[in-house]
Amino acid sequence: MSDSKLITLSQAAEIVRDGALITFSGFTIWRRPCAFVFELIRQRKRNLHVIEVNSGPHSEFLIGAGCVSVWESSWIGHEIYGKFGANLSRKIKGKEIIYEDYTHAEMGMRFLAASAGMPFMAVQTALGTDIHNPAYDMLALAGLRDGSNPKIPRKKYDTINDPFFSGAEQILVPAAKVDIAVICAQKAGTDGTVRIEGQFFTDPEIARAADVTIVLAEEVVPEEYLRRDPRLNTIPAFVVDYVVECPYGAHPTGMAGFYEPDGDFIRNFYMQTRTQEGFDEFAREWIHRTTHNGYLERLGSGRLIGLRASRTLGFSAKVGKG
């Protein structure tokens, strides 16, 4: 059974059906499964419902390429390399995409709920904001909350008065149920055990929340090695369905202990893709008619070496803008 989880990047992307609810690992410009997203674009996936704690370059790639019909998250941007998500912004202005806003804490608790088999979780955040404006339930306005997709909740949120203590109104946020979670991590064992180095963000939760969990690992290592110290592992093997060995799978986002975000690449992408024409040009140059290996060759060894993280520090002592 050990080897059966190992598949190729293109096989992994083929698992994603058009219209799937999909989520991705990482946080803003760190550990986002960009190589997988490029392959989704090559395979011309359509009508994806992207749902994630926050969005970064990977989401902008997918949205710019027209693969996404619903964006459900709390934030999109490129940190210091780009002020906002220019592709999402353009598609929203053009009414080409459905958007739904939550907060980080709400999205985190939504994935935790889904990962724990709970239909909802109670939070007391963002009270009094337009995030809770009942007129802004965008999936409802789009007619997507009719129960025809059992993973889409019937409401954006609900309220309940705490029956146990204060009686105060609580916000109930619905479980973020997803078809597929794609996780980009430093190490995976041959049976699927995942060891994430650095902050693990919401990756343990999204892994359990999904029906199918796919891991892109910088290194696939013998399972026995990871099992010598199970307290350092992040996701148990049986939660992972497929493993792809994919070095630099997060580029241009960063991978703690392996490489920094490629700030120049992200900034250029942000500047270039303020228009759809710019995006299409970017896609022709970096995504279409190539493979992940071709992409890495195009980047060149010198560039990759320049992004290297120190194995002592976990980050580069040279790249200031990590």
Binding site: F27, W30, T103, G128, T129
Partner: protein, 275 residues
């Protein structure tokens, strides 16, 4: 954000960015647990840690608690946030701690704010038919909701200090009660979960605070080169300037040294002066 004015050094030998960073750092009290965003907020916190607040505890929403970075992180997902931390984990645990009430102070940047400290980082124009979609809320509404105090860093332009924000992303002192959208005091809406709200705004023009009862912003100190009346003119709402205390205290030589020679040698967030 402050690229146009940041390198202009005044006759006292420091820039506006220096002044703002130092003013922000002085908002931190020793021993406090501080939830940090990136940019000037992080720099200000690290400056406080090296000056008057050596026992502050720095939390990042990505999951590291009580960090002591040796290199300046440029985003909260950066492994530089993990250095010498007490524990490294993930986002859920960070917000468990925050919602449980461990956070004293949040540090945020804002794009557009009204007189009650409500902030919009989501959209320019109508949410349902936007002129420009921005980043969205991220963890900012959470940090503000859970912390006892929140300090904002902002560029001071009239279009940013508005009568009413088009979308409340981050709650201020008077917020909307749903489903009606009626405007109520934050304390009324948050009830037992009320811990505080926006406590200060450090803008490029001055330092502002809020009257907790009325929820309205007032001018506390003005930066050198500004007057209270001129600052009032930079706000689209009727700014209370009756409680002003004087000029914003300048940075010390020690603070300037720490900013430029220790914390941000690479000028990631605060450029050196041009001369």
């Amino acid at each position: 954000m402050m690229e146009s004015s940041a390198r202009k050094v005044n006759k006292r030998g420091y820039t506006l960015a220096d002044l703002m960073t130092v003013a922000a750092s002085r908002e931190v009290r020793d021993g406090e647990i501080v939830f940090a965003g990136t940019g000037i907020p992080m720099l200000a916190i690290m400056l406080a840690q090296k000056t008057h607040a050596p026992h502050l505890k720095l939390i990042f929403e990505s999951g590291t608690f009580d960090s002591h970075p040796v290199a300046l992180p440029t985003s909260v997902g950066d492994p530089r946030c993990e250095t010498a931390s007490s524990r490294s984990s993930g986002l859920c645990e960070a917000f468990f701690l925050a919602q449980r009430g461990y956070i004293d102070l949040g540090f945020l940047t804002g794009a557009e704010m009204d007189e009650y400290g409500n902030v919009n980082t989501t959209v320019i124009g109508d949410y349902l038919d936007p002129e420009l979609r921005l980043t969205g809320g991220g963890g900012n509404p959470d940090i503000n909701s859970f912390a006892r105090r929140t300090v904002y860093i902002m560029v001071h332009e009239p279009r940013r200090f508005v009568q009413s924000v088009s979308y409340i992303t981050i709650p201020g002192w008077r917020v909307k009660k749903w489903p009606s959208g009626q405007c109520v005091h934050r304390r009324e809406l948050y009830g037992g979960a009320f811990r505080g709200g926006p406590s200060a705004v450090i803008s490029t023009a001055g330092v502002f605070r809020f009257d907790v009862e009325t929820g309205r912003m007032y001018l506390d100190t003005f930066h050198p080169g500004h007057t209270p009346e001129q600052i009032a003119g930079l706000c689209m709402f009727n700014l209370d300037i009756g409680r002003v205390r004087g000029e914003t205290p300048p940075p010390s030589a020690d603070e300037l040294y720490l900013i430029h020679e220790v914390l941000d040698r690479d000028e990631l967030f605060v450029p050196r002066s041009a001369d």
